[in-house]
């Protein structure tokens, strides 16, 4: 007996939770396999995907029991992150059904991003999906959903102007740099850590003729690699403090769980710099740069939330294009729903046939037991006759259920069919007993 599956999203994002909460609940990519496997072991969870980027932590589930699955995920987060559930439960949202489908499409299409239309999110979603595939926690439902999401995202990008104007974190960083330094030409840049967004920001700065570029990475080899890309110099992670005397713009994006620069590191530094301004762009979540540092004269610290606020106005201009994107998403949601509901019809038809076949076998057995004198040949004929009867009777209902002319009422018809033939009796009996 196949049970109906539901698609559910449980999570929080930049709109519902401040960076303090997000950084506490973010899962690193090393955590992910363990998380996927642990949650997948819950009996109510059939399929699972985990998205953890700096702006969102979301679980995408396929489940038979929405309430139980949501409960399980919430408890898991609280336990794994050693954070009491009430401290973040308010930030969590739960979407199911169409809402969940729409949400995933919107996320992949960058309609739900902090910077609407930013291109990085699709890559991040693909990475997360890849991890779930590697660990086989995705099944038929989520696979289909994600592939749909990717194709919707592609359509939104190519058919709307959502990505036309370079409004993004890195663009905001360059803009701010200009407001502080005037020209970015000959401004020294230090990249700490790595990451797509950070590297993009450095690239933007290089395009504005900022140089020289220094790269500090915990693994020196990775630093060398990155530095080569920017025609910069790799320095050792321990040297970062010394280089603060020389650089003008610092972009930080490490996976460190604590601040890598605190206010004490700046004693005497500004004097040594002759008070030249210093601009920190902290893209990391959890944050790398102590926000207290922003209080120092001529030092400016922007974390990811600050940057996003800074470009809010530009985002508003994108809303029009985003609306067209929403329409594409709406269409895709309807399409997907049709497929998903068809998924419910198939098990119903299977159940129906199974039930009638069972009745036929039972009655045949009874009849043959009473008729001792029937030849083997006649038995086969009676068998064929009953099978044909069953097929003919079930033919029209099957066609009716499979046909796609009445999208909205399909769940109703499936429901009626199940009740009419009492297809769920086994279930009911079990739970009562």
């Amino acid at each position: 007996m196949v049970e109906k599956r539901h698609i559910v999203v449980v999570g929080l994002n930049h709109k519902t939770a401040p960076v303090e909460v997000r950084e506490r609940l973010a899962f690193s990519s090393e955590d992910t396999p363990h998380v996927l496997e642990s949650v997948c072991q819950c009996p109510s969870v059939n399929e699972i995907l985990l998205f953890s980027t700096c702006n969102r932590v979301e679980f995408l589930l396929a489940t038979q029991d929405v309430a139980k699955a949501v409960e399980a995920v919430k408890d898991f987060m609280a336990e794994f992150k050693k954070t009491p559930l009430p401290s973040f439960e308010e930030s969590l949202y739960v979407y199911s059904g169409d809402q969940a489908i729409r949400h995933m499409f919107r996320v992949a299409s960058s309609l739900d991003s902090m910077v609407v239309g930013e291109p990085q999110i699709l890559g991040q979603v693909k990475d997360c999906y890849g991890q779930a595939c590697d660990h086989r926690t995705c099944g038929v439902v989520l696979n289909r959903l994600m592939h749909r999401a990717f194709s919707v995202a592609k359509r939104v990008r190519t058919e709307t102007g959502i990505g036309d104007h370079a409004v993004s974190i890195s663009y905001a960083a360059v803009e701010l740099g200009r407001k502080i330094f005037g020209e970015l030409e000959e401004k020294a840049v230090l990249l700490i850590g790595a990451g797509e967004m950070a590297e993009l920001a450095v690239e933007h700065l290089v395009n504005n003729r900022a140089r020289p570029i220094f790269v500090a990475n915990r693994t020196f080899e990775r630093g060398l690699e990155l530095a080569e890309g920017f025609r910069g110099t790799a320095i050792r992670f321990e040297e970062v403090r010394d280089y603060l005397k020389e650089v003008d713009i610092v972009i930080s994006s490490t996976g460190a769980s604590d601040y890598i620069l605190v206010r004490d590191d700046f004693k005497g530094l500004m004097r040594a710099r002759k008070n030249r301004p210093l601009f920190f762009i902290d893209i990391a979540v959890p944050r790398d740069i102590d926000p207290e540092i922003n209080r120092i004269n001529n030092v400016y610290v922007y974390d990811i939330d600050d940057l996003n606020n800074a470009i809010q106005e530009n985002i508003d201009e994108r809303q029009q294009e985003a609306l067209r994107g929403e329409r594409l998403v709406d269409g895709a949601v309807i399409q997907f729903r049709r497929w998903f509901q068809g998924l419910d019809v198939v098990p119903t038809i299977v159940d129906l046939r199974a039930k009638v076949e069972e009745i036929r076998q039972r009655e045949l057995k009874k009849t043959f037991a009473a008729l001792n004198s029937v030849s083997e040949e006649d038995r086969a004929a009676i068998d064929r006759l009953t099978a044909a009867l069953v097929n003919k009777i079930l033919h029209d209902p099957t066609i009716f259920l499979k046909q796609s002319g009445y999208k909205e009422r399909k769940p109703l018809y499936v429901d009626i069919t199940r009740r009419l033939f009492n297809l769920d009796e086994g279930n009911g009996g079990k739970s009562e007993g």
Binding site: L176, R178, K179, I180, F181, G182, E183, R271, R273, K274, N275, R276, P277, N294, N297, N298, Y300, Y302, D306, N309, A310, E313
Partner: protein, 262 residues
């Protein structure tokens, strides 16, 4: 001449409105108009001052009316000169109203006939006041740049980039303008103080008489001297320099006020 002065006032007023409008609406044509009008006003003002010079044979700094008018002229002059180098459009929104205020007040003041002192003495006086006025104008611009700097710095530090963030130029530019104005103003101030001391000797027979005006004047000079030194030696810049520029100008205004009360 009165007609020219009226034209000057009208031009300054119109230009002030234009610069405010530019800040509000961010339309380049408005700025260009404001700039042209300000140039027209400046030229007519220059003509007024030139005529006054020819008429009296002195730099027109002999009474409060002339002094204020010349101050307004110098503010516009310094602003336009800086504009050529830095293209700092929004500064006009502070400089033009300041000049307007100066000429409007000047136009309302009585114009007592200038009593002509012996030529040598009055030459010193003209030299003393003339340089001080140009110096003051430079410091007024520095103060305006300082105010704009503080507004912009606040916007960036508080991470609330809004109305001003979009409209004001970079911190670097505002700081540079403040610095350039300081470089122009300080030698003028120094020269003005020296000629003032000599003038005092001529008029009162004493170089220094410890009256509040003189003491405050010395304090003003010290404030600017310290600021300039810190900028050159330690690389002071940004917020602290901006605040000190504003404080310096406040003391400067007070000093000028005290001197005119005498």
């Amino acid at each position: 001449m009165n007609l020219l002065f009226a034209l000057t006032i009208i031009c300054y007023l119109a230009s002030s409105l234009g610069y405010q409008g530019y800040i509000l609406f961010q339309k380049r044509p408005i700025h260009r108009m404001a700039n042209i009008v300000l140039w027209v006003g400046f030229l007519s003002h220059t003509a007024v001052i030139g005529l006054q010079c020819v008429e009296s044979g002195h730099i027109p700094v002999q009474n409060l009316h002339e002094t204020l008018s010349t101050f307004g002229w110098a503010v516009v002059g310094v602003f336009l000169a800086l504009q050529l180098k830095y293209h700092l459009m929004v500064l006009g929104a502070l400089a033009a109203p300041l000049a307007t205020l100066a000429v409007v007040i000047a136009s309302m003041l009585p114009r007592p006939p200038v009593e002509l002192a012996p030529l040598f003495k009055s030459l010193w006086r003209s030299l003393h006041l003339g340089t001080l006025i140009v110096g003051n104008a430079a410091f007024a611009i520095a103060c305006s740049a300082g105010i704009l700097y503080l507004i912009q710095e606040r916007a960036i530090k508080d991470k609330k980039p809004g109305f001003f963030f979009r409209r004001l130029p970079s911190l670097k530019l505002l700081d540079s303008v403040g610095y350039a104005s300081l470089i122009v103003g300080f030698p003028m101030l120094t020269f003005g103080v020296i000629t003032g001391v000599i003038y005092a000797q001529m008029v009162r027979g004493r170089f220094w008489s410890w009256d509040p005006g003189e003491i405050l004047g010395a304090v003003t000079w010290l404030v600017y001297a310290v600021l300039l030194h810190e900028r050159l030696a330690v690389g002071w810049q940004g917020r602290r320099a901006a605040i000190m520029t504003i404080v310096g100008f406040a003391i400067l205004l007070l000093t000028s006020f005290l001197f005119f009360l005498r």
